[in-house]
């Protein structure tokens, strides 16, 4: 296929605005998938993706489309991950394209996440084709939404395509626009090979599958290739394309997209954004835009039954096979025993992994409250990062603690501005910008500590805007803050898994609230259980869970005497110990209470 007949494009849309449905209709119309094989949202292959309406792994599909001009074009539809946690992966997928469909729900209008990805697309110089989906809805307001797109994003909507993906309306028009408006890939067929990795996945038989877009030169089966960032050489065993059925091809020319099989065993060896070149005839320059993946959110994951530790380890290593962006290492907690400290790109990523552990491996887990990464500068000049609040050194040994800040973009109907400003201010936010997209819609920008938004910020935002607000955030930097460690003592014993790092100004309030909350969540025991919050050695708050009032056996007859007497002996032995050791059952809800703010 000549490069001038190739079109590489992706679809940018907010969750639920219909990206997957449009993709499905395109596959049908180009004959790639028979209607009878059609499974809703074909590209989202994981159950979880289908259920949650999000795409976790990118898929690239090669389609053939004969346009009205009589020519047959080769289209590569690159499906991008659709969530704020995967911003970098999105940017790489976008870099593999020349154009993008900007799908906006004609009733909902522009939302924050759409906007974030649109800016990424504009940065990548993509040609944007606005698509107004769901025009069949009675609540559709295409004129207003077009105005929002023009005002808010600054792109012309004169050629916006009205569609109803559900009913198959406008799909043909979309494909014609793709062919006419999106430029063909530019590149140099004779230059040394440069292909960009934009995603990877793991196959039990083939090893790591590497998705690439070729920019210069040609890749052929059997080539010796080098991954320039990771400095690894491989032999190219097989080249595949998805139509969406898997087809093996002999080569990928510049402008084309495909999957490389190189017998790579560990997905961690494959870095998204890396440049693939030939081992012999090497490119001199990397493709731009590479970044190391950075985990933003950490939590401890512990099996409820300690015998499940090995199963959990096994499950984590299997999940890690397919996901290079998540990290895990053994961790020991005084309260929870043996488990793992896991790092994630963001909260959604964390939830997805937790859910898969419970669902696919049948594990019962205790998850500690998520924490961000802190940077700690020590008195002796050394510096280190920590993700477990329990690891924060004592105040007299540290010089400063820094925490990550994010730039938050909130889209909201104008009437909720007050509520959002209050929410952001309560979370230590600094307002940076507020713009009206139209008379009724506003975009507000805040800089906020990541720690303040990782738990329930999004839920709170949805609540105060009655579901109309949308949120996007990106990392900006680390900033020093008056941060202190708040310890929680249950029955006079510190429980490491309940420690958290908080701002000094709010430490007293947080301590008091948390202790009050724990008093309600921890069940009554046979003895009084004090719950305390402490800053260093100073107790700042205390409540007592009263012992059960009733301490009498209901029944005791002939058959019970031996059993009750043995129980009594156990109690006699355990009585002393129970006072000193925190022999208290703490439910999962208590660990998550640490971060909730209700």
């Amino acid at each position: 296929m000549q490069a001038d007949k190739i079109r590489n494009f992706c679809i940018i849309a907010h969750i639920d605005h219909g990206k997957s449905t449009i993709a499905d209709r395109i596959l049908e119309l180009t004959g790639a998938v028979d209607a009878r094989d059609m499974q809703a949202q074909y590209l989202d292959s994981m159950d979880l993706e289908r259920e949650r309406g999000i795409t976790i792994k990118s898929q690239a599909v090669r389609l053939h489309y004969t346009a009205d001009d009589g020519e047959t074009y080769e289209l590569h539809l690159i499906d991008t991950p659709g969530h704020v946690d995967f911003g970098y992966e999105v940017s790489r997928s976008l870099a593999a394209c020349e154009g993008a469909l900007l799908v906006v729900d004609a009733a909902q209008g522009v939302e924050a996440q759409t906007l974030a990805n649109v800016y990424l697309a504009i940065d990548a110089d993509l040609t944007l084709i606005p698509v107004l989906n769901k025009i069949d809805l009675p609540s559709a307001r295409p004129v207003e939404v077009c105005a929002e797109i023009e005002d808010g994003i600054g792109i012309d909507t004169a050629n916006a395509i009205p569609t109803s993906a559900k009913n198959g309306v406008g799909i043909k028009e979309i494909l014609e626009a793709v062919v006419k408006l999106i430029p063909s890939p530019k590149g140099d067929p004779d230059a040394p090979l440069r292909a960009m990795i934009f995603d990877s996945s793991y196959d039990a038989y083939r090893g790591v599958l590497v998705q690439v877009r070729v920019f210069d030169g040609t890749l052929r089966k059997g080539d010796k290739v080098r991954f320039m960032q990771s400095m690894q050489d491989y032999e190219l065993l097989e080249i595949r394309v998805h139509t969406p059925k898997v087809v093996v091809v002999d080569e990928l020319r510049y402008g084309q997209v495909g999957v490389l099989v190189c017998g790579i065993k560990q997905i961690q060896d494959v870095k998204v954004g890396d440049t693939v070149t030939h081992t012999k005839r090497r490119a001199t320059e990397l493709l731009p835009g590479f970044k190391e993946v950075q985990q933003m959110v950490y939590c401890g994951i512990f099996p409820i039954e300690s015998v499940d530790y090995a199963v959990l380890r096994d499950a984590l290593s299997k999940l890690a096979l397919n996901d290079s962006s998540f990290s895990w290492e053994p961790e020991t907690s005084g309260a929870l025993g043996f488990g793992f400290r896991c790092g994630f790109l963001g909260l959604l990523h964390m939830e997805v992994i937790q859910e898969r552990l419970e669902r696919e491996y049948g594990l019962d887990l205790i998850t500690t409250a998520p924490s961000v990464v802190y940077r700690c500068e020590m008195v002796d000049g050394s510096e280190f990062e920590l993700s477990n609040p329990g690891d924060l050194p004592d105040a007299d040994r540290r010089l400063s603690v820094s925490e990550p800040y994010v730039r938050c973009t909130v889209h909201t109907p104008a009437k909720f501005i007050g509520a959002i400003v209050k929410l952001c201010t309560d979370r230590r936010g600094i307002q940076k910008d507020m713009r009206y997209l139209s008379e009724s819609r506003v975009v507000i920008q805040y800089e906020l500590p990541l720690a303040e938004i990782i738990y329930d910020f999004f839920d709170r935002l949805k609540t105060v805007t009655r579901g109309y607000g949308s949120l996007d955030y990106e990392m900006i930097d680390f900033r020093k803050g008056k941060l202190v460690k708040l310890d929680i003592l249950v029955n006079s014993e510190p429980v490491d898994a309940l420690s958290l790092i908080v701002h000094a100004d709010t430490a007293y309030d947080r301590g008091r609230d948390l202790v009050a909350k724990l008093r309600k969540l921890i069940p009554r025991q046979q003895f009084d259980v004090p719950i305390q919050a402490a800053l260093g050695s100073k107790i700042i708050s205390r409540e007592t869970i009263k012992a059960l009032r009733k301490d009498v056996t209901a029944k005791c007859y002939g058959g019970d005497i031996s059993r009750k007497r043995k129980l009594l002996e156990k109690q006699k032995r355990g009585k002393k110990r129970m006072k000193s050791v925190g022999n208290v059952e703490i439910p999962q809800s208590a660990f998550l209470a640490v971060l909730s703010t209700d």
Binding site: L548, R549, D551, V552, A554, G559, S562, K575
Partner: protein, 416 residues
């Protein structure tokens, strides 16, 4: 009054009157909260089981011959499914071992759902003179929630029949079981249950706080959040209120969960609580008999809980015990305290001297005096020690305080 009974020195077990417990392991249905040795079965093999009970009796009674049998208790399971002929046969065999006393209390446990009209009359003809009926609640919704098979109407029918048999003198006494503090039962419902049952003039009532026992279906439901755990505060309030609620019918608390008109205290159960000997026969039954080898005060044994295994062993003429333990003075002290303090009459330390020795009894008395002085809800009247009504809800705690050999100070133990 029961608690003023003159105390008799605890004689060696062998000289005592015997109590006999016979277990019938089958029910029509197993309730979610039950942790007894019970299997649900519609056609229990009653005749075969009777033959094997008689074999166990023969195997167990070679070494011990008490002066007389003071009580027999047919428990379960649902022994009212066994049939009067089998009950009569067992009583006959027991008489051949040792005579039934003139006032022998012979109790049958029964469930309202497992009794046909007229059944009770034929059981009294077979020798039963006391019935203990598992009413549990007097409301259909709550009975279903408790996973019981019978309904309130069935319970009323049975209670009416019992009242008639009491009036005619065919039954000497009768008791009903009620559960309290179950979900859906507040004070008004408790009072309704009591009124429903007491309206039939029963002289004895057992009222138990619903307890979540490990390993029962109820425990699993509570752990998964499918059933609410019992409300500790409500159960405590009810436990404290029960004596006043039952006073109008003339019933007194004589044990934590047992209430009776004077003279209607369960003699059989008093044997357990006062440390007397009892022979136990049948699947999962627990016995306490004299130690014929002479090493200890007595022997405790319990039979296997599997009906199939028990029956197979007895068919081979071998006992089917799961455990056997020789009880020495130190252990027996704990047992006597554990059960004796549950009684309103408490325990008479002087009476224990022959069995436990002076040292143990004197030490207990000193510790009890110290705890009393420190304000614990205990009463030491001469050598008689008891827990006050106010102390009943925390009984197990005071028991621990009294038995604390580890040496925690009295003021620590008595601290509220």
């Amino acid at each position: 009054m029961s608690h003023d009974r003159t105390s008799v020195a605890l004689a060696p077990l062998a000289d005592d009157r015997a109590a006999v417990y016979v277990h019938f392991p089958w029910c029509l249905h197993r309730c979610a909260y039950c942790d007894f040795a019970t299997t649900a079965r519609h056609d229990p093999p009653g005749d075969a089981y009777r033959a094997l009970i008689l074999r166990e009796l023969a195997l167990r009674t070679t070494a011990w011959r008490p002066s007389e049998i003071g009580s027999v208790f047919f428990g379960g399971g649902t022994p009212s499914l066994w049939g009067p002929a089998n009950i009569a046969a067992v009583l006959n065999a027991l008489t051949a071992w040792s005579p039934l006393s003139h006032d022998c209390e012979i109790t049958l446990e029964a469930n309202p759902g497992a009794l046909e009209s007229g059944d009770l009359t034929s059981y009294t003809a077979a020798g039963i003179n006391r019935v203990s009926i598992g009413v549990q609640a007097a409301d259909d919704t709550r009975l279903r929630a408790l996973d019981r098979l019978h309904d309130a109407a069935a319970a009323r029918t049975t209670l009416r029949e019992i009242a008639a048999l009491l009036a005619s003198g065919a039954l000497h006494s009768a008791s009903a079981d009620l559960l309290f503090g179950a979900p859906g039962q507040g004070f008004p419902e408790l009072e309704h249950d009591l009124a429903e049952v007491m309206a039939y003039g029963l002289p004895h009532l057992s009222a138990y706080a619903l307890t979540v026992e490990d390993g029962t279906p109820l425990a699993k439901m509570v752990a998964r959040g499918l059933a609410p755990p019992p409300d500790d505060d409500l159960q405590s309030d009810m436990l404290e209120a029960l004596p006043a609620l039952l006073a109008p019918w003339g019933l007194d608390r004589y044990e934590v969960s047992n209430f009776a008109k004077p003279g209607h205290e369960s003699r059989h159960n008093l044997v357990y609580w006062r440390g007397g000997p009892y022979l136990a026969l049948g699947v999962g039954a627990h016995g306490f008999v004299p130690d014929s080898a002479g090493a200890g005060i007595g022997l405790r044994y319990d039979n296997v809980r599997s009906s199939a295994l028990w029956m197979a062993r007895l068919a081979d003429d071998v006992l089917a015990e799961a455990h056997r333990e020789t009880i020495g003075a130190a252990i027996h002290r704990d047992e006597l305290m554990l059960t004796g303090l549950r009684l309103r009459e408490g325990i008479d330390l002087a009476a224990w001297r022959p069995r436990l020795g002076a040292e143990i009894c004197d030490a207990l008395r000193v510790r009890a005096q110290l705890l009393c002085d420190a304000g614990a809800p205990l009463r030491l009247n001469g050598t008689r020690l008891s827990v006050t009504q106010a102390g009943t809800v925390q009984l197990d705690r005071w028991l621990l305080a009294l038995l604390d050999d580890a040496g925690s100070t009295v003021s620590e133990a008595a601290r509220p």
